[in-house]
């Protein structure tokens, strides 16, 4: 820990701001709620300031950039700060304890979202000179992660996305678990996929803000990437060729379109099966279904019933349909 800390009011005008080095809150939300809170309740959390050897003539603000800005906007000249007696050195020279303290300062207000976690680790390692693999196990525990550097992979990837996509993961419109499939894809393909899914689509009115589930994102990503790679195209070029940008921001429709292209024969079989099973003349209580991918060459017939006589009537109707050859069209799906 820094050797000494003073709690005192500091002049906001004298603070040197260093958000690129120390800030990891994301996204940069509007300050109106914060201003309102400060106006009503006053400053509840002190700023964190490095007050050792001054940098460019003043103490350096390490935590509380938004608080400082909001207080300034409310006409305050000073703010409460925890002033650490700590020099502001070159990147790579910060003591890890400073970053532990910045993390605690953030966690005192709210948990880290995925983008913030990635940004924190990136900025911490840049600030302290620690390697990802060399981060202490207790830090992983504090971050809620298993203690191995591989656990950071998803978060670090998100932290390097363009702001529009980083927002989507930070605000939960895109699921963290969906990152796995995109991680190993070339960056331009992954970015094109995120554009296409449209959680933060560039297209006007393309459904920006709609949340996408893990399975849906993973399926769209996997199928679209495999289609593009199979054709030897970039994902953007493939999507353009297939006219898929028309479905950007509409995950459900996009999934259906991409699946049809990834599995054309299977999709055709499924469509045929739907059609064929509708025209069987089965009693309404009976339903025929196939295994995923028609695997096994077997169909399942399910009969629901509320009484034994009802079951008997349904089975009789099924038998009659079978004898009359109305089920023959299912033969192509068998064996």
């Amino acid at each position: 820990m820094p050797t000494r800390a003073d709690w005192r009011r500091v002049s906001l005008g004298e603070l040197v701001l260093a958000p690129e080095r120390y800030a990891f809150s994301w996204p940069g939300e509007g300050d109106a709620p914060l201003r309102e809170s400060l106006a009503r309740f006053g400053q509840l959390r002190p700023l964190v300031v490095l007050g050792g050897a001054a940098h460019q003539g003043g103490p350096v603000l390490a935590a509380g950039h938004r608080r400082a800005a909001a207080l300034g906007a409310l006409g305050e000249d000073t703010a409460w700060a925890r002033v650490l007696v700590l020099p502001f050195g070159e990147p790579g020279t910060d003591p890890p304890e400073l970053w532990d303290l910045l993390l605690e300062d953030h966690l005192a207000a709210r948990p880290l979202n995925p983008a913030e976690l990635g940004l924190y680790v990136r900025r911490r390692t840049a600030g302290t000179g620690e390697s990802f693999a060399g981060l202490p196990p207790q830090l992983f525990r504090r971050l809620g992660l298993p203690p191995r550097s591989g656990a950071l992979e998803d978060y670090l990837w998100i932290s390097e996305l363009p702001a529009v996509h980083r927002d989507a993961f930070a605000l939960g419109r895109l699921p963290l678990a969906g990152v796995r499939v995109l991680l190993r894809a070339p960056r331009e393909d992954a970015l094109a996929l995120l554009d296409l899914v449209g959680a933060s689509s560039k297209r006007e009115g393309a459904g920006a803000g709609a949340a996408v589930g893990v399975n849906k994102l993973s399926e769209i990503a996997r199928w679209a990437l495999e289609c593009a790679w199979g054709e030897g195209l970039s994902l953007a070029a493939w999507a353009e060729r297939e006219g898929l940008w028309a479905f950007a921001g509409e995950p459900e429709a996009l999934r259906a379109q991409v699946r049809r292209r990834r599995y054309p024969e299977l999709s055709a079989w499924e469509a045929d099966f739907r059609e064929d099973s509708r025209g069987l003349g089965l009693p309404p209580e009976a339903r025929v279904s196939h295994a995923p991918g028609f695997e096994g060459g077997r169909l399942t017939c399910t009969v629901s019933f509320a009484s034994l006589p009802e079951l008997g009537r349904s089975l009789d109707a099924l038998e009659e349909g079978l004898r009359a050859g109305r089920l023959d069209r299912l033969g192509r799906y068998l064996g």
Binding site: R180, V181, R184, A185, P186, D189, R222, L225, E226, C227, W229, G230, E231, G232, R262, Y263, P264, E265, L266, W269, P292, G293, F294, E295, G296, G297, R298, G335
Partner: protein
């Protein structure tokens, strides 16, 4: 002897005095640097490095197969791990991409383990159990330097409870030709159309070389096996595989063929996540493969069934109805749909062993 497919040999200090290590090092050309590894030295990596070490665990294990698939009773015997060939579809690319060509020097331990198991199989009337060294390595690719083939043939010959399969994509049969073939040894080749071998099996022997080697082995008295695995159903596959089947039986008399296996292209979904970007433009790897019960991606059922039916039919037409054809890692339903019989758990082993000479069990099941 051609130049070896490796650039460096690293030998663990405690493995160096073992007879296998001494023989292996004596066969190396002087141009290959040899390093002695001490405890704590960095682990060797990469398929251009040979690592001579000890195997502290078991050498003999059941073939992993796949959940829900018909098991064929195969056992995997592993005096070596990793393959010098860089086949696109090899599972080792996914599971052990950086592992060196690993040679286990404590072959006496391996031999003792095998002898014990083979005697138990014989005592239980279970044999002959098929045992192969080609699952985690190529059985013959490094043979001029390892001498594994001769060691294995000598080891298996007095063990009627076991049947050795040496499976390879090479044409290195020299060690097989200089000795009398044991009745319980089969030399086997993975086969694919020449274009597929050229595009996806770098460093391996051509189809003509493999079939030439198979013909030599058959003439020398060995029974031979063939593995159509993976069958890649890309445009024109049917004609291409029919040609391979034609070439196969032009090279080898059907009576000399112990068995033929069929397995279509399959891999875990992770394979495309890892390798997809590097396979860009290779349509063969992005066909309609859908997840099966075991999670692996395989061709859509009707296509897979058609592939198996066509190939099994072509094989039996040319190889005769007695030809032992089986499916690798497929469900009982696919066996029934493609081959016309659904074996019980223990029947495949008997069916395949039926072609074996003295000591083999009944065909069973058919």
């Amino acid at each position: 002897m051609s130049s070896p497919p490796f650039d460096l040999v690293e030998v663990d200090a405690d493995a160096a005095p073992l007879p296998f290590a001494e023989r292996f090092l004596a066969r190396l050309p002087g141009s290959i640097p040899v390093r002695l590894r001490r405890q704590g030295d960095p682990a060797p990596t990469g398929r251009r490095t040979v690592h001579v070490t000890g195997e502290p665990g078991a050498f003999l294990k059941p073939c992993p197969c796949s959940p829900g698939a018909v098991r064929c009773g195969y056992r995997v015997f592993t005096p070596a791990f990793q393959c010098p060939f860089g086949c696109t579809y090899c599972f080792l690319r996914l599971y052990a991409p950086d592992a060196p060509l690993t040679l286990y020097a404590n072959l006496e331990d391996a031999a003792a383990e095998l002898r014990g198991a083979a005697r138990a199989w014989e005592g239980e009337g279970e044999g002959p159990v098929r045992v192969g060294t080609g699952q985690f390595a190529d059985s013959l690719a490094l043979d001029p330097w390892t001498g594994h083939a001769r060691w294995l043939l000598d080891l298996f010959e007095p063990l009627p409870g076991a049947q050795l399969e040496l499976k390879t994509k090479s044409a290195r049969v020299e060690a097989l030709l200089v000795r009398r073939p044991p009745p319980n040894a089969v030399a086997a080749w993975s086969v694919n159309p020449p274009e597929r071998i050229a595009s996806d099996e770098p460093g391996s022997a051509s189809l003509a070389e493999r079939l030439g080697a198979a013909a030599q082995a058959a003439r020398a008295g060995y029974r031979v096996g063939f593995h159509f695995d993976p069958v890649v159903a890309e445009e024109g596959w049917e004609a291409a595989y029919r040609e391979v089947i034609g070439a196969l039986f032009a090279a080898v008399e059907p009576s000399r063929v112990a068995w033929v296996s069929l397995g279509t292209l399959r891999f875990p979904p992770r394979f495309l996540e890892e390798w997809g970007p590097r396979l860009r433009g290779r349509r063969a790897f992005f066909g309609e493969l859908v997840p099966g019960e075991d999670g692996k991606l395989r061709y859509f059922w009707p296509l897979r069934k058609r592939v198996y039916r066509i190939l099994a039919d072509a094989l039996r037409r040319q190889g005769g109805p007695e030809l032992r054809v089986y499916l690798c890692m497929e469900s009982p339903a696919m066996w029934g749909a493609a081959l016309g019989w659904t074996p019980r758990e223990d029947q495949v082993e008997g069916y395949l062993a039926a072609g074996a000479p003295a000591g083999a069990s009944d065909a069973g099941g058919r």
